[in-house]
Amino acid sequence: MNVNPILLEVFKNRFSSISEEMGVTLNRTAFSPNIKERRDFSCAVFDEDGEMVAQAAHIPVHLGSMPMSVKSAISSCDLKPGDMVMLNDPYKGGTHLPDITIVAPVFIKGDKPSFYVANRAHHSDVGGMTAGSMPLSTSIFQEGIIIPPVKIMENDKIDEKLMQFLLNNVRTPVEREGDFAAQVMANITGIKRIKELVEKYSEETVCFYASALMEYSEKITKNTIENIPDGKYTFEDFMDDDGTTNDKIPVKVNLTIKGDKVELDFLDSGDQVAGSVNAVYSITLSAVLYVFRALTEENIPTNAGCLRPIKVKTKKGTIVDAEFPSAVAGGNVETSQRIVDTILGALSEAIPDKVCAAGQGTMNNIAIGGFDKRKNSPFTYYETLGGGMGASNENHGESAVHSHMTNTLNTPVEALEYSYPFLVTEYSIRKNSGGEGKFKGGNGLVREIKLLADAEVSVLSERRLFPPYGLCGGKPGKCGKNIIISGKIRKEMPGKFHAELKANDIIRIETPGGGGYGEIRVNKSHK
């Protein structure tokens, strides 16, 4: 079969509409605000080998890691029609425990699946030592329930025993059950649509174009790499600390461009740490994939082909390739951002016009849990906060927005106060926090919440010590701040902390600004 340019375009549309439609189903049917309001999930379609064919543009940090989940599900379970596999084990294809993936095989004929569909959603509670399941942990066992690849559904029926077992291990079982059902529904939608596609075009044609689309994305990614001057580029940036000690953690990349291929060597990055900011390999891969996808000017399908010209080297037991049983809750959300900063920093030497200065470089994870007396029920709130984006050669960085590896929505103030015993006392742009430069870095934001009930608060944030860098003479953005106000006492907290707070205490988060770009031109006649 030869690639027909018309069918190639038609299939591009068809595959991406399948993953998008899965996303619509998941979003519409989910229960928890984190999935519904904030859209913290991703959906994708895979070929018979678990190679990604198409992913709906939802959350970049899931990009490189979804295929590993699918491959892990394939190798661990003997899949039959009507089965679905659930997993979150970061050491078996997951990223961090709140991200639970459900994989479903698509059988056309014969006893081997011809395709897979999968979706991943961030559950704001998977048990563990603190509400919100984003703890300042030192071992994965503190972070929640670890789900190895296991059949949650067999022969079209949910395994109720397993489900009860899972729900018994979380703080908000009703919400979880609703979200799981939504994830299953999303896969059912995906299976149905793939079967319709095969019916229309034949299995052979659909499989052929699945791989043609990977070659298509590979070709364009290669073209993008070719346009970067050959050479070796190095950059090092730091994580503030791991939450248990004050030691900074280096993330370093040696990036080599040769023709249409690129190698990223992270071997000089720091060792894995006791705290929870360890990233498993799949996260590092996601960060790399994100950067090259962003450098590609065409709107190509994000699939396995994008990774083919890219080689990523890491060493086991490091901050970018952590080993069991190190704690990983924050690796997904925090370290992933620093890996992106590091790669963009290295590329800024080669293509300063194509990249931007460092963005806020953190997701400012905040989790609050307790008991709501008004409603007579426990509550868990989890949210991430936007900040400044880095400036570029063309414009200022955007303010108060999520950058790079995440793109979740906020929870509206009015929705928040309906759902939780909170009074929001400030939600604004943090003035003058972006780095100076010819183009200014974007400003961070301020979110201040007064608790109306006793609650435990966990904050996992970065860029409280090492500011987001500027580029080409631009100044760095301001570091973020975490503050607790109890009556008249105002206390600045570290980047990562856990605290038991009382009603009327206030938690205030100021997120970092982005780095500036280019020197500020001084008019000499005024000197």
Partner: protein
């Protein structure tokens, strides 16, 4: 009755009128600098001594936003929440853009003012309105020569007292304003703020525009089309201009609904293909509403007819991308330079592909007023064909296939993704280019019937004449479990209903002539999306049913919430009646046939007859392959399809109904 519908479009302003028994239709070139010129010059042709009722769909509000030419607008909100309008939902609309910037704000940071005052989630005042500070803000507004002010305080829909106090001061200072609890009495502060700002931003301009027109048509009555599918008095439109945004497509949907109903179809998917984009909507026995519209990425949460738009139309440009894939759009050749066949362009467009395959008749475009140029086409298609090693005809058919795929996807979004099976619907096609694609598109979706009305090019203007006068009201009530009872809900509706009767009286409708429809926005507790449920009978059961239909499941054991209550007040104005056309035989008279030409379908050339639509009579049947020509559109019947003319002149096409079995 004397009545005229006027629809302002990008290129043409369309007029349809009825004076005595006489119907008339014409187009004037639009005058984008001052749209009122085209409107008034057209009206001058129509208006006579008798009093006319004019219904007008205007693009003034829409364009004020798109071109950022609205009023110098300020925003007053709670202190420390001034930036909510800029922060939005904290996400970015382009995931992979390292240089991403938001759309330009309608209110700059310097004109966003915070005031000390706060209402809490229970509607209680926990910090009083600071009048002194409010006065100092007003002084700053004067200094900045602010023309319009949006006022939006947290939880104002539960307790509007602070917004009302602010309004009093603004009235004293004679500064026009929009209050959030009046514009949109619903929770979620960003969406409410955005809707209120949009209203404040466009209202002054709309007021000037409407005043100018009314001053020039004295003695006649002017109504303005809204995006909810209803019209409203000119006075109300000046106050609630946000409700007129995107009203043109709404007119089309109303027209399609009324004409289809008359033709015996109550389940239709509308398909309006224009030069740069295509609008689709799903009508399941009524006009579909959405509360989730945006303009320029700003949410506008007033009810609008749920119309989905894709960037593919007749002018969409086809090209081969770096990866060897054939792409169509979203770039469009527009009207200038236009498609290659218009004479100036160099890029192949969808229209060129249609012409190249013989699906357009070059001598007959726009009734022969514009001759299409076929000379350059062959060379262009041969070049592209060589590039991808295919035949020129295959390239042209491929371009149509890719364009149809984009439109098919749009229809899937509004049907399959929302739990509807498109095969149960008829495709109602209008707009200039729709008739060439409708049957092929219907086949992709296995839709059995296509309807093409008379004058498909001016359907929006027709729809405006068919529209009811409509006012929509809503209020967030957030009722849970035990508080959900008919008594409680009825009580909540009482003040809204009284307000509706009062306001409808001002629109000229007595209480007994007002039709009230009541709805609830419901969800399962913990969800954050609401479903619109008619408030009648067992509404909780109806909610479960609709949830099942939309999302594939329901859970009758789970508690539900009533988030918002909605009320729609309708008045039915006198509407024109369509008359039946002359009856004919199954076989059209020979004078209807204008000749024949070669047309390519699925790689084969078919000798295809050309028919003149204006001479068709009811009962006439035409089998594909055929082309039916009229002033504003060309209708292509591929082989194996069959069209029948109904009593009102609509073409009802059976997509697989030709005699020759496949």
């Amino acid at each position: 009755m004397e009545i005229v519908g006027v629809d302002t479009g990008g290129t043409f302003t369309d007029f349809i009128y009825k004076s005595g028994k006489r119907w008339g239709v014409f187009k004037h070139l639009s005058t984008p600098e001052n749209p009122a010129e085209a409107v008034l010059s057209g009206l001058k042709k129509v208006l006579q001594d008798e009093k006319f009722q004019i219904v007008h769909g205007s693009t003034v509000a829409t364009n004020a936003i798109l071109e950022r030419k609205g009023a110098n607008t300020a925003l007053i909100t709670n202190k420390k929440f001034e930036d909510i309008f800029e922060i939005g939902r904290q996400n970015r609309s382009e995931l992979y853009n390292l240089k991403y910037r938001r759309e330009n704000m309608l209110v700059p940071a310097t004109l966003r003012f915070g005031l000390n005052c706060r209402i809490n989630v229970d509607g209680e005042e926990i910090e009083p309105f600071d009048e002194q500070e409010a006065r100092s803000i007003i002084a700053k507004l004067k200094q900045a020569e602010v023309e319009s002010v949006a006022v939006c305080f947290l939880f104002s829909y539960l307790n509007p007292s602070h917004e009302i106090q602010m309004a009093k001061l603004l009235s004293e200072a004679e500064i026009p304003f929009s209050l959030s609890h009046k514009v949109l009495s619903e929770f979620r502060e960003y969406e409410r703020t955005s809707t209120t700002v949009v209203n404040a931003y466009v209202s002054p301009k709309m007021k000037r525009y409407i005043t100018y027109i009314t001053n020039n048509i004295e003695g006649n009555e002017l109504r303005i089309m809204q995006s909810n599918g209803g019209s409203i008095s000119a006075d109300t439109a000046m106050e609630e201009s946000v409700r007129t945004i995107l009203s043109g497509p709404a007119g089309g949907a109303v027209g399609a609904y009324e004409i289809a109903k008359k033709a015996g179809f109550d389940k239709i998917i509308t398909f309006d293909m224009g030069g740069t984009s295509t609008d689709v909507a799903l009508l399941d026995g009524g006009l579909p509403l959405t509360m989730e519209s945006t303009i320029s990425n700003f949410p506008v949460k007033v009810p609008m007819i749920d119309i989905h738009t894709v960037g593919a139309g007749g002018g969409s440009i086809a090209y081969i991308d770096k990866g060897g894939s054939l792409k169509v759009g979203p770039e469009s050749a527009g009207a200038d330079p236009g498609p290659i066949c218009y004479g100036k362009g160099n890029d192949i467009t969808v229209t060129d592909a249609n012409l190249f395959l013989g699906r357009l008749v070059p001598e007959n475009f726009l009734g022969g007023n514009m001759k299409l140029n076929t000379n350059k086409l062959k060379k262009s298609f041969e070049e592209m064909a060589k590039e991808i090693k295919m035949g020129p005809n295959d390239v042209a058919e491929g371009i149509l296939a890719v364009a149809n795929t984009a439109m098919e996807r749009a229809i899937r979004v509004i049907s399959v993704e929302r739990g509807h099976n498109p095969q149960e619907f008829a495709l109602f096609s209008f707009g200039g280019a729709g008739g060439m694609h409708a049957v092929s598109l219907a086949r992709l979706l296995k839709i059995p019937k296509v309807i093409i009305p008379m004058n498909p090019g001016i359907l929006s203007a027709i729809g405006m004449l068919m529209a009811d006068l409509i006012k929509d009201y809503s209020l967030t009530v957030m009722l849970k479990n035990e508080s959900i009872s008919r008594d409680e809900i009825d009580n909540r509706f009482v003040p809204i209903q009284e307000k509706a009767y009062d306001e409808m009286a001002l629109e000229g409708f007595n209480k007994e002539d007002v039709i009230i429809d009541r709805y609830l926005d419901m969800r399962y507790q913990g969800q954050s999306y609401e479903i619109l449920v008619p408030y009648k009978g067992d509404f909780v059961d109806e909610f479960h049913k609709l949830h099942e239909q939309n999302y594939g499941y329901c859970n009758k054991n789970k508690s539900v919430e009533v988030v918002n209550i909605r009320l729609r007040a309708r008045g039915v104005p006198e509407k024109p009646v369509f008359e039946k056309i002359q009856k004919g035989t199954e076989k059209p008279e020979s004078k209807v046939c204008l000749g024949s030409q070669n047309v390519v379908f699925d790689g084969e050339t078919h000798r295809t007859s050309l028919y003149d639509r204006n001479k068709l009579k009811s009962g006439n049947v035409i089998e594909g392959a055929a082309i039916i020509l009229e002033y504003s559109s060309t209708i292509v019947l591929p082989p194996y399809s069959k069209a029948e003319v109904d009593d009102y002149g609509n073409l009802i096409i059976d997509t697989e109904g030709g005699d020759n079995e496949r």
